[in-house]
């Protein structure tokens, strides 16, 4: 498992959190309970299985939802 932290453009609308959460949920290999969308710091943090998913998958999903990815980081856990 790896831990991903993706810094997004400033989140302002309340429903974007739900959208992003569901978007990340739809990726195979993501540990669903670990998903945390941080409204004020405009970040999404989640754990994923590096054999099934990649950080690029998540970035693509977020981009398709119409949000800009500012910076992303993957760490071993």
């Amino acid at each position: 498992m790896k831990k991903a932290t993706i810094k997004l453009e400033t989140l302002t609308c309340p429903s974007c959190m739900q959208k992003i959460e569901n978007g990340i949920k739809s990726i195979d290999g993501v540990d669903i309970p670990s998903i945390n969308v941080l409204f004020n710091s405009s970040k999404v943090i989640f754990n994923f299985d590096e054999n099934k998913a990649s950080i690029e998958d998540a970035e693509n999903v977020i981009a398709k939802l119409g949000y800009e990815v500012k910076k992303s980081q993957v760490k071993d856990i």
């Binding site: 400033t10 949920k25 941080l38």
Partner: protein, 613 residues
Amino acid sequence: MILSRKNHITLMSLILIVTAFISKLGFGNTEIFLWALVIASVIGVAPIAIQAYQALRVKVVSIDVLVTIAVVGAFLIRNFEESAIVTFLFLFGAYLEQRTLNKTRSAIKELTEMAPESALKQMDNGEFEMVEVEEVDVGDILLVKTGAKVPVDGTVVTGEGHINEASITGESLPVTKKKDSKVFAGTILENGTLQIIADRVGEDTTFGKIIELVEEAQDSKSEAERFIDRFSKYYTPAVLVLSFIVWLVSRDIELAITILVLGCPGALVIGVPVSNVAGIGNGAKHGVLLKGSEVIRDFSRVDTIVFDKTGTLTIGNPKVVDHIIYSGNSDEVLSYLSSVEKESDHPLANAVVEYIGDTKTHLIEKTDVIKGGGIVAKIGGHRMVVGNVALMERENVTLNKKVREDISKMQSVGNSLVLASMDGELKVLMGIRDPIRPGVKKDLEKLKKLGVKNLVVLSGDNQETVDLVAKEIGLTEAHGHMLPYDKQDYIKELQAKGQIVAFVGDGVNDSPSLALAQIGIAMGNGTDVAIETSDVVLMNSDFGRLPHALGLAKATVNNMLQNILIAIGVVLILLVSVFFSEWMNMAIGMLVHEASILVVILNGMRLLGYKLR
């Protein structure tokens, strides 16, 4: 593409709407009026519809979905006036929300932006080169020039200078740094040049930890908020269903789409997080770290505050103010005493060592530290007992009448006592005083005014000393002779009585109490222990920030409640008026809805300027 032009679209939509109304009201031209509104509606709804589509793809019925359906509905019944105005208000509202939200988050953003980004690192050839701070490893030698930020936590190798540590301690007076001084990431070298060796880098630095903590805190959710989140997941679909039912029953599209717009839950979802981020941001600016909204809520309800004495109510730097030598060669006795006390890191022991000063050091054969008593040591063939009166009695040291009189005299003026005996005979009595922090009395009064009923001090000192301190600064209760586990038991007792207890300590030897109390408040001077084990940290050990912290917690909780009430109140009023009033329509509904979001953000923003009166 369309989304990134949202601001342009908003502006164009406004111009078209204004044009439409000028041409109709000024020139009576309904043709231009209609076409301008149609165009405004179409370009306005485009970005909203795209967002709605993206949301639906991940199975979220977002506000965008409601608004898009409403606008399309208005378009179908040829109410272009409303469709144009609603889209404009929705877009313009979103723009204002973004601007104001950035303001509420500004305090924390300023803090995170103080993080160092680059460093001058010594390369293999001995030259210093500018690198990204991520490339610095523990053990690297770094050069810090005047005006630059210290990039990591480290130790000075060479050089001297003054550093402003406000980012860590909140204290803006520069601190002198020379060889072997510790320096902290994020602090600023005001003059001089330093070469430092990196001890901790990145997130492991004190500054990194503070940022992590504050970032987590601003997004931590209270139970109420989690409930709102769950609620809103079902709320928007419910509004959609409701409006559909209304349409089925009444066949009134106008009414159905108006309900869609009125039901948007924006202010409710946004109200609590904005209060939270503004409150925590205010704290961060004033040297108070509040670890999240749960902490804020508990803290605001505290009715009992328990203080550790040494280092919390007092400065924590005790000094020997009186000493009596009863028998023997004073130089010899004092040198023995100093050697024994050097074995301990107790503040009283440090005071004794400091007072005696340079003296001969004796080899110690054996030491036993008696918790809450003192030290028993074997030194130079003697058995030496150093500690409080209770320890002397336990060790059968005779305390004659003269000694007892001296003891009560010293205690009556509020001194802590250290006694030293050699082979069962009392040699020295020392009176030690730890000055009370200036301003504590006023701060305690402020706490009382904020509604704290019980202010208690717990201390290992004798009861007389503690009583004297309590009387001097106006505490409601004072308990002496407390060992660390006594303090814990006492807190448990209070909690069993139903009191909500905050414990204030320096985080060094009272971490169990910090953890046990509902709210652990650490007088932190940038130490990790204090930052990690507590719920609230007063930076730079500044006691004066405690009333501000409590006042801020109360203000933040009130602010959240206000925001929840505003949000629910507005939705209720809107829904009631759509059924029972003539004037309510989609455009007014959208206006009120967006205004309510701005009101809760602006209300939250007030917390940024909160000051305790």
